[in-house]
């Protein structure tokens, strides 16, 4: 029971982190129809910027300054890159963001080198916040949960209760009409792109110290983020949240409990071939759940696509 609770918390941390990335991605997608392949690269930039700032000013200033910086970079990319490519259509846009992801990774390698950098959590958050029977829950995880929840509350408030949010929502569905009413839609797009990438930046700042900061970190998380928004339904914020949490919990539980295929198969009534290593089904028999934890999201995505192509909460076909 205690272990379940600990895993629930761990999965929640992963899920919220994923959501912070996929929220920006799905917002950008539903607004501009652009799937930003470089989204995870902005997450990486967040971590590296924060590291650079934390050397001089400490972790907290990094958390404060790095995301807006990432947002500015993102807005500049939209203004000077994407807007130019937009005229060629959606596929070249996607190719552009893919190239951008490559370029950002190379730039990061160029500036900070190939190795992992020593980006640490602040001293005040080291150690355990509380413990559930014998398991310690690190204070940093609690901090991550509250920070991401706080950001979402803020995002929700802005999107549903403020004038800016209303304009964004209107521009999502009727960009032409909004433009005719005198709003600067390209500026709104640039703003949304900036905020979306800044959100990714926040995720990078807080995830960098725990998931380690290295040039491949965008690559590791990048495709999972895509899977998340496809499962949730392209363009759906609620779907992204549900999918992120599902993926977070699914992978955490698969890693925590060592469910062996051998037990399942013998339970169903098959007999184990001896010696196992020589059998053609050896891999099936030696399969364990921690082994496949990382591919579960992809499997889920394919299942979703076959049986419910719009995703969990997606309404429209893209």
């Amino acid at each position: 029971m205690d272990l379940i609770l600990v895993n629930l918390i761990d999965g929640l941390v992963t899920g919220l982190l994923l959501f912070m990335l996929s929220a920006g991605l799905t917002l950008i997608f539903s607004m501009m129809g652009v799937l930003n392949f470089a989204h995870a690269s902005f997450y990486m930039l967040g971590a590296y910027f924060a590291y650079q700032i934390s050397i001089y000013l400490g972790f907290w200033m990094g958390l404060l300054i790095a995301p807006p910086l990432v947002g500015i970079v993102g807005a500049a990319v939209e203004r000077y890159g994407l807007r130019r490519v937009h005229q060629y259509g959606h596929v070249p846009e996607l190719i552009f963001t893919f190239g951008l992801a490559l370029l950002i990774e190379e730039l990061v390698k160029f500036i900070w080198g190939n190795d992992q950098i020593p980006y640490q959590i602040p001293e005040i958050l080291e150690g355990a916040a509380f413990s559930i029977s014998s398991y310690d829950i690190p204070a940093y995880k609690v901090f991550m949960i509250f920070l991401s929840l706080g950001i979402f509350a803020g995002l929700l408030f802005v999107m549903t209760r403020t004038r800016v949010g209303m304009i964004i929502q209107a521009a999502l569905s009727y960009p032409r009409t909004v433009e005719a009413l005198g709003h600067n839609v390209p500026l709104v797009f640039m703003g949304v792109f900036g905020v979306g990438t800044a959100l990714a930046g926040v995720a990078g700042v807080i995830a960098g110290p725990v998931l380690s900061t290295f040039p491949g970190m965008a690559f590791v998380l990048g495709s999972i983020v895509f899977v998340t928004i496809v499962i949730g339904g392209l363009g759906s914020l609620g779907g992204a949240l549900v999918a992120a949490l599902i993926i977070g919990w699914m992978t955490t539980f698969a890693k925590a409990y060592n469910i062996r295929m051998e037990d399942i198969l013998t339970g169903v009534g098959f007999t184990k071939p001896e010696p196992t290593w020589d059998s053609a089904w050896a891999d099936l028999w030696t399969l364990t759940s921690p082994q496949i934890a990382d591919i579960l999201p992809y499997l889920l995505m394919i299942l979703i696509l076959v049986f419910r192509p719009y995703g969990l909460f997606g309404k429209r076909d893209v």
Partner: protein, 426 residues
């Protein structure tokens, strides 16, 4: 895709001398290449190039002709290759001539594509891209789990020489492999070209440009895409078989996103709108890779920058830029272009060299071993602590940029004039 060159329709179906010429020329070139470049390393590079060309052409069946952006095309090549390596390790291999092996790779690439295509070709564009990415990552991740087939971390290796000799050839040397690869390259390129001329290939273009209209004409855009997808899987599998024969080993690397991404890069660089675009892309990319990676550690930074610049400024790729020049050459007005090109592009190249020089010096200053200040760049050896190289490169970059920028309007003007029949002023 609006940027794609619309292929012109041709009503005559027969084979004319004019349409056969490029193929005869390519065949002769493929035969002669090893006599021109005789060194072993050159043949290795040419083998690599030929495999990349087959793979890139097959990729362009999706991206250029079908409008489907795939992030997981390496999977079909990889699976085809893995099957071939496994066959090399079986006893049955002793009774199969090696040159037929790629066909087997092709069949398995096709089988996999026909399964994946069933659900992935429902939509083109972004959705297709996402699904291809997911499937690609899934299979790449499986490679460490399904050890029986994918060989885990160390991959699967084989020996091509166990096959029965093919007309006395045992494929012991690189040159024999080269001719095998070149033969398959020619056959598969020709088949892919002919595919693009069949009604189903034509419909793929129609579905790419306007799926709705194609549907109204009574075609299911999904099945048109499915057919292209399966055919592309077949040729990717052939490329995989050739890879297996050439390198005799396949690993997880042949399946992952990096390989899929680099083939996108190659194809787009060459140009997706023209049939021979991917060929140009594969040749240029392989050469760039070989030359740059010998000269500098950060070559992938340059390749990335080149790719982004291509997407932003030349979305029709190298072949597209070449094709733009057909009109001036036919009109006989190309002479108008020579001088403006020289005065604009030479400063532009100087600017790029200056920039890359700055990048190199900066990289050396930041990442070289401590105390090692000596570096060689453009055949000159100097210390990165000196101020002179920085100044020289900065001046090159700034002056080059300024000159190129100043002369660019002149080039544009000449371009417009060259595209008018009489070369008159605009």
């Amino acid at each position: 895709m609006q940027s794609l060159e619309k292929t012109q329709t041709r009503s005559d179906g027969g084979v004319s001398m004019k349409s056969a010429m490029p193929w005869i020329f390519s065949a002769v070139m493929l035969v002669l290449m090893p006599f021109i470049f005789q060194s072993n390393s050159a043949i290795t590079i040419m083998n690599q190039m030929a495999i990349t060309i087959v793979f890139a052409l097959s990729y362009n069946m999706l991206l250029g002709q079908g409008g489907m952006l795939s992030f997981g095309h390496a999977v079909y090549m990889g699976v085809g290759g893995f099957v071939c390596v496994h066959v090399m390790n079986w006893e049955i291999f002793g009774s199969i001539p090696l040159p037929l092996l790629p066909l087997l790779g092709g069949v398995f690439g096709m089988i996999l594509a026909s399964m994946v295509g069933y659900f992935s070709t429902r939509k083109a564009g972004t959705v297709f891209a996402m699904i291809s990415l997911g499937v690609g990552e899934l299979i790449a991740a499986c490679s460490v789990i399904i050890v029986v087939f994918f060989g885990g971390e160390e991959g699967v290796s084989g020996d091509r020489t166990y096959g029965i000799p093919f007309f006395g050839v045992e494929f012991l040397s690189q040159i024999e492999v080269y001719y095998l690869t070149a033969g398959w390259l020619l056959i598969s390129a020709l088949l892919m070209y002919l595919f693009s001329r069949t009604p189903i290939g034509r419909m793929a273009n129609a579905v790419r440009d306007n799926p709705e209209r194609a549907e109204f004409l009574g075609y299911s855009s999904r099945w048109v895409r499915y057919n292209s997808f399966v055919a592309a899987g077949f040729f990717a599998g052939i490329a995989g078989g050739l890879f297996a024969i050439n390198y005799e080993i396949l690993t997880e690397e042949n399946l992952n996103l990096t390989t899929s991404g680099s083939i996108l890069l190659v194809t787009f660089l060459g140009g997706v709108g023209v049939f021979f675009g991917p060929v140009v892309g594969a040749i240029v990319f392989t050469l760039l890779q070989t030359v740059l990676s010998l000269e500098t550690e950060i070559w992938s930074l340059y390749v990335g920058a080149l790719f982004v610049a291509t997407v932003m400024f030349f979305p029709s790729g190298l072949a597209g830029v070449m094709q733009l020049h057909i009109a001036p050459i036919k009109l006989g007005t190309w002479r108008l272009l020579v001088m403006p090109y020289i005065i604009t592009l030479v400063p532009a190249i100087i600017c790029i060299l200056g920039l890359s020089g700055l990048i190199e010096v900066l990289f050396h200053a930041r990442h070289a071993a401590i105390g090692e200040t000596e570096m060689t760049l453009f055949w000159v050896t100097f210390q990165h602590t000196e101020i002179l190289p920085w100044v020289v490169f900065a001046v090159m970059a700034v002056v080059g940029f300024w000159l190129a920028r100043k002369n660019a309007p002149q080039m544009m003007d000449a371009w417009h004039r060259a595209n008018k029949p009489d070369g008159a002023d605009t």
